[in-house]
């Protein structure tokens, strides 16, 4: 990963992604809120599909990046993998919050309650809290290398939660509907599929935009720490020289 040229959180890639999201957002809202007709059983609440399922996929992807980056950090020991894991975990937590909120809002008209002790809902909440714990570890006041290594181990361990969430509807009897995409078999069609695809694109690009920006912010923070450390060492050295010289 080349990153020596990073001087701001903005990049050409994020600018392009940002413009793409801004361009797609009105189309997504128009199709999601107006063109796609109310569902025969779920009525207007079916529109939450275009928010809920994309947020699931972005959450899973972000936590998968945490897993991969953590494993790479333990293998390569380069700080960029650690920064990528941290940035991705933050993005994953944000989208997981969206996922939980949209799920609760969807649950009210569908199941008659905001919260049901359903295996998937409960395991998702546990996953959310476990990644909050991961972020807490990243803020531990320790030697940065030690902290990064522990975060990497935790980043790998925490992925167990994602597996539990994904398979919870198979392992336990669940109120939650089956997967929208089950082994390539798409359960939706027509304008629903189109609006959902738009939602998926908007959410994925937004997640990517956030990830790149956050990675660059973390990188710049790290550079700042290093500069501070270097200048402090130089200052102490010059002090020592001044005291020694007659």
């Amino acid at each position: 990963m080349k990153s020596a040229e990073i001087t701001s959180t903005k990049s050409k890639t994020t600018t392009v992604i940002g413009y793409l999201v801004v361009a797609m957002l009105p189309i997504y809202l128009a199709f999601g809120l107006a063109v796609a007709e109310p569902h025969s059983e779920q009525g207007e609440s079916v529109r939450l599909l275009f928010v809920h399922v994309p947020s699931v996929l972005v959450t899973y992807s972000a936590f998968l990046v945490v897993l991969f980056s953590s494993a790479m950090y333990l293998r390569k020991k380069t700080p960029y993998w650690d920064l990528l894991a941290g940035a991705s975990a933050e993005v994953g937590v944000v989208f997981c919050a969206v996922l939980l909120f949209s799920g609760a809002v969807w649950g009210r008209p569908t199941w008659g309650t905001y919260w049901e002790w359903d295996p998937r809902m409960t395991s998702t909440a546990v996953m959310f809290i476990s990644y909050l714990g991961y972020l807490a570890v990243r803020r531990m006041d320790l030697n940065p290398t030690v902290r990064s290594r522990r975060a990497a181990v935790l980043g790998i361990l925490s992925f167990v939660n994602v597996i539990v969430v994904h398979y919870s509807i198979d392992w336990w009897r669940s109120l939650h509907q089956g997967r929208t995409f089950d082994q390539g078999n798409v359960q939706i069609e027509g304008w629903y599929l189109f609006s959902f695809s738009l939602g998926l694109a908007v959410f994925t690009l937004s997640g990517l935009w956030l990830l790149i920006h956050r990675f660059r912010t973390l990188y710049l923070e790290r550079q700042l720490d290093l500069v501070d450390l270097d200048s402090a060492i130089a200052e102490r050295k010059s002090e020592a020289k001044t005291k020694v010289s007659p």
Partner: protein, 230 residues
Amino acid sequence: MLSDAWRIAVKDLTIELRTRLLLAQVAPFSLIVLILFGFAVSPDLLVESEAARSLITQVAPGLFWVTILFVCLFTINRSFSIEARNGAMTSLKLSAVDASAIYLGKVLAAVFQLFVLQVFLGTVAFALYRLPLADFGMLFVTAIAASVALAAIGVLYGAVSFGSQTPETLNALLLLPAVSPVMLAATRSSEIATFGENSVAWGWALLLIGMAAFYISVGVLMFESLLEDS
């Protein structure tokens, strides 16, 4: 490696025997938690209500395992706080003992402490909540497997939060979500062992054994990364 692990376990248990934290603080604490759960679930227990008795009996396995989770937190915090003083952890690492032996030793000591407390609290819970006992064998296997799983996960996460300024709260935040599947399986398995009726019978106990084996393997493989200083 196993003889080193045994020595580490004996060291931890000797410290425990000398300080008697388990006996003097954790056991009475867990006892009061079991009693307070009784009040919290149903204040009518004090006036001998049959409905209240029935309710507390039904939820007793869950209450028991929540208490054991608190005990697990104390045990793990204690397991690492003894290494935090006087540079004990540094000495341990300098002793050239393999990291996996340190992990297994700490797990072994924690398993012993958790199992002893489970026997004590289980006996009290059966008396307090007037529980039946359908399958002692399954209850015994559940207690052992859950102790191993809790200790295996606990020591792993305890090492993650070691050295933090607030290891107790951080450990709780990390450990409780991680052990939630263990608690679920242990509760269901205890329910079956206590009340008897269920078609899956040993399924939950086997799941506990699987989780214990998985986390022991992960701990042995990853503990070294958690112990390195730089």
